[in-house]
């Protein structure tokens, strides 16, 4: 259980949460735009079902409302670190096959990657605020992906962007939960308690 919040910590958390909500909201809008462009330029079917792709963090969660604040932050942080690596890889693959048509896509991908990195850092800020240890990044980063065909890369990219779009919505909801004043003290609950 986290020590009772000092007003300044609660205020700081509230500020970080609302900035995080805006950042995630903007990121979601950009990811949705990127997804539309990606589907079109890669000649994919927007309604295609993409099986869960290994290494892509799933936004789907059960009993979401029962999660503690720390769980929310740690799961978010792990996800956005994974997306940072996945988007960097997509960008690299994109550059390998860079055609003129893909330049715009490359820029949009880079912009989203930047936002994902910024958001990951924001989550670390929130964890630091709670004097929660920031989980170290896996030194050697995620295992190198299996060599995929061009079409498999495209499908994986679709899966990555779809999950990221859903994660952005989840993050907004998570941050709203964290920003909620706790019923008793009226101050935002310590991370461990916030439902």
């Amino acid at each position: 259980m986290a020590a009772a919040d000092s007003p300044s910590t609660a205020l700081r958390r509230r500020d970080l949460c609302s900035r995080g909500i805006r950042l995630a909201g903007k990121m979601r809008a950009d990811v949705v735009d990127l997804l539309d462009a990606y589907v079109e330029q890669q000649g994919l079917d927007a309604s295609a079902s993409v099986a869960a792709v290994e290494g892509v963090p799933l936004a789907a969660v059960e009993r979401w409302d029962e999660q503690t604040g720390t769980q929310r932050l740690l799961e978010n942080l792990a996800a956005y670190r994974a997306f940072r690596a996945l988007l960097a890889q997509m960008l690299e693959e994109q550059r390998e096959q860079l055609g003129e048509a893909d330049a715009g896509l490359g820029r949009a991908l880079a912009a989203v990657l930047l936002q994902v990195s910024a958001f990951a850092y924001h989550l670390e800020e929130l964890l630091r605020l709670e004097s929660r240890g920031i989980p170290g990044e896996e030194e050697d980063g995620p295992p190198p992906p299996p060599r995929l065909s061009r079409f498999e890369q495209k499908l994986r990219g679709l899966g990555v962007l779809r999950e990221l779009a859903h994660w952005a919505v989840r993050s907004v909801r998570d941050l709203r939960q964290l920003a909620k004043p706790s019923p008793a003290s009226g101050a935002a609950p310590g991370l461990a308690e916030s439902p």
Binding site: A60, H166, R173
Partner: protein, 314 residues
């Protein structure tokens, strides 16, 4: 023997009189009325190109003894067309409901079976009690990119049909309209109207899942709506109303991150504050006239000068 017999509209129907021979003398009745001999072929009843009106109770009696030999309840109808299915979440993130109807009636009983699959998981759809064609599904997972697949099958004695819907969790989120919409003039402000409303009561957690709102308003004398989108709060002050004109106002709601707009709320009417026309009471008139030359004084039509205490317009 007696049973229910379903036949399609337009079908030709032949009924045997139970175990009676073809050439036996019989009498057929429909809903208590004797059937004309022209419909008989021996003891068989022949109904050509049946219509809905020929549904009913058919009896066959042995000629002389009037023993009842056969009885059937003929139900004329049609096989079901592809049902119309709609799924929606108006209480996100609790769950969603699906409702359905048939585009055209079948005139005979229909049985609906609905299956809801999320990825590989079969989900329970809690049916409302008849005649409501609706059932409710609880979300087991949130924020899932896996699509939901809902298949509705309808069956009746004359045929079967089905329809399938596939959708994303976020796409079907559509709140109910805002409730308790109130519009009031703002005293001393001839161009303002204060509008307030409440979150739809079906929306379970506005704090974690806040709604944003869309307000539209216009004077009754114009057709063109004015719109304003509000990302939080449940009230707004219109500051550009035409003075003295009655306004019609509606509000819609949407989850601030996902889904679609609700239908418009119930319309409310209001007219901005207007200055009360100056009604001078009799006393005021006298004091007025002593300061003004008497030739210019005009008494309001309803007041007698010497009638003490009379107030115009009261």
């Amino acid at each position: 023997d007696s049973h229910v017999q379903y036949e399609r509209v337009g079908a030709d129907v032949t009924m045997k009189c139970g175990s009676m021979d073809w050439d036996a003398a019989v009498t057929w009745t429909a809903n208590g009325t004797d059937i004309d001999e022209s419909h008989l072929n021996g003891s068989y009843l022949i109904l050509k190109n049946v219509g809905l009106s020929q549904s009913g109770q058919y009896f066959c009696y042995e000629g002389s003894s009037w023993h009842l030999k056969y009885q059937t309840n003929l139900r004329v109808g049609t096989p079901p067309k592809e049902p119309v299915l709609m799924c929606r979440s108006n209480n996100y993130p609790k769950g969603f409901y699906c409702s359905w109807h048939l585009p055209t009636p079948t005139y005979i009983p229909n049985f609906f079976n609905i299956s809801v699959i999320h990825g590989t998981k079969d989900m329970v759809c809690e049916k409302d009690s008849p005649p409501k064609n609706r059932c409710h599904i609880k979300y087991l997972q949130l924020f899932s990119t896996v699509k939901y697949k809902v298949t509705l099958t309808v069956t009746n004695a004359l045929g079967k049909n089905f329809t399938t819907l596939t959708f994303d969790e976020f796409a079907i989120v559509k709140p109910d309209p805002p409730e308790s919409v109130v519009a009031k003039p703002v005293p001393n402000n001839p161009r303002r109207l204060e509008v307030s409303w409440q979150n739809p009561s079906s929306w379970p957690d506005p704090e974690s899942f806040p709604l944003k709102f869309f307000l539209r308003y216009r004077p009754l004398i114009l057709d063109q709506w004015q719109h304003v989108e509000l990302s939080d709060g449940t009230s707004h002050t219109i500051t550009d109303a035409y003075a003295g004109k009655e306004y019609i106002i509606q509000v819609a709601a949407k989850d601030s991150d996902i889904g679609t707009w609700s239908d418009w709320s119930v319309a409310v009417h209001a007219t901005p504050w207007t200055e009360e026309p100056k009604h001078l009471t009799t006393e005021a008139q006298i004091t007025e006239t002593t300061s003004v030359s008497t030739s210019s004084f005009m008494a309001p039509p309803t007041t007698k000068i010497c009638d003490k205490g009379a107030v115009v317009g009261s």
